[in-house]
Symmetry: C2
DNA sequence: GACGACATGTAAAGAGTTACATGATTAT
DNA sequence: ATAATCATGTAACTCTTTACATGTCGTC
C-alpha cells in the first residue's frame, strides 16, 4: 500500500503537529514549495484517503460557525512515515522551467531578445531570493531542517540569478554577431 | 490554438533541422533533460498532433527495411515558434525533488540518518555534474545556447553538491544533540 | 459594507510516466 | 549469436492544475 509523495508530505506535516488541510497548505506554500508544490485539489482528497487507510485521524474543530477539520497522525501513520524517511535510494531532481526551454531555442531570435530573456530569468531568481529571505524572517523557531532548506532555496536562487546576469552581460558584449 | 510546452520544444528541435521522433528524444535527453524531460509517450502523439495542425510535415525516410519518419517545420510552425519564443512573461521554475521532501521532514530521524541522506543528495549532484561534463565533451559545435545551458547545468549541480556536502559536514559535527 | 484571510471541497481537463508491443540494423 | 542502438507506437494509469462553488470571521 504505497502512498504518493504528496501523501508522505501530508504525513510529515502532521507528525510535527495536528493540522487542518488549510494549515498544511500554508506550510507547503511557505517552506516546501521550492522543491514540491501542492494544490488544494490534491490535498483534500489525499487527507480523505489517508484517513480511510487509518494513517491519520480526523477531528472536528470548528471556530465558531466556521467548519474546520483537524487531522492527527496515528501510530500506523508514524510507522509508514518512518519507513519512507529512512529510504536513501537515489531519486531524480526534476526541473520544469518553461523560460529555460525558450532560452534553449533562442538562437532563432536576434541578440537583443536573447539578452532580454536571460535578464528576465535573472530577475525571476532575484525576486525568488527576496521571497525566500522574507519567509526566513517571518518564520522563526520551527524545525531546524526547515530553516536549512530555506537557506538552500536562497542560495540556489542567488547563484542562478548571478549566472543568468552574467550570461546576459556576455551575450550583450558579444553583440549581434 | 495554444500548444503545450512539449509541443514548442518539438518545434524548436525541428527548426534546427529535420528530425525523426527518436532523434528529438536524443536531443531532449542529452541537452534539455535538465530543465524539461520528454518521454516517447508524449513525443509521438505530439508529432501527430503538430502534423495535423500543419505546423510540421512528415516525410518517410526508411533506412533499409527500418521505418523512419522525418519531420520538418513548416512556415506556419516557424511563425508559431517565433511567437512563443518572443514571450518574456515570467514563468515559474518548478522543481520536484523527492529526496528534498524526505530531508525536509527528517527531524523525525536520528542524526546519522540525516547525515546519510544529505550525503546521498550531494552524491547525486556530483554524479549529475559528471554526466553534464561528459555530455559537453561528446557534443561539440552545436548551437551556442545549447552549450551555455549545459554549462548552467554543470554549475547548478556543482554548487548543489557543495551545499549538501557542507550540510552533511555541519550536521555531523553538531552530533546527536 | 467590503476586503482579505480562513476553510473545504468537487469536477473536468491536461500533462506526464510506465509498461507493453514490435521489429530492423550495426557492432562485438 | 547477441547485445546495443535505431525506430515507432499504444493503453492504462497517475499526477497535477484549474476552475468553480460555498460560506465564516475579523478588521478597516
Amino acid at each position: 500500500m504505497e502512498l504518493s509523495n504528496t501523501g508522505y508530505l501530508v504525513l510529515g506535516a502532521l507528525r510535527e503537529r495536528p493540522r487542518s488541510g488549510y494549515d498544511i497548505k500554508q506550510l507547503a506554500d511557505k517552506a516546501i514549495r521550492l522543491f514540491w508544490a501542492v494544490s488544494f485539489g490534491q490535498l483534500y482528497p489525499e487527507l480523505k484517503h489517508l484517513a480511510d487507510s487509518g494513517l491519520i485521524e480526523a477531528e472536528a474543530h470548528p471556530t465558531g460557525g466556521r467548519q474546520r477539520t483537524v487531522y492527527r497522525i496515528t501510530p500506523m501513520g508514524e510507522e509508514a512515515l518512518a519507513d519512507w524517511a529512512s529510504d536513501l535510494e537515489e531519486r531524480p531532481c526534476e526541473i520544469r522551467d518553461e523560460m529555460l526551454v525558450r532560452l534553449f531555442f533562442s538562437d532563432v531570435a536576434d541578440r537583443s531578445s536573447q539578452v532580454a530573456l536571460a535578464g528576465a530569468i535573472a530577475q525571476r531568481h532575484r525576486r525568488m531570493e527576496r521571497t525566500m529571505q522574507s519567509l526566513r524572517q517571518k518564520t522563526g523557531g520551527d524545525e531546524p531542517m526547515h530553516e536549512e532548506l530555506r537557506g538552500f532555496g536562497e542560495h540556489f536562487h542567488r547563484t542562478a540569478a548571478e549566472w543568468f546576469e552574467d550570461l546576459a552581460r556576455r551575450l550583450n558584449e558579444e553583440g549581434s554577431r
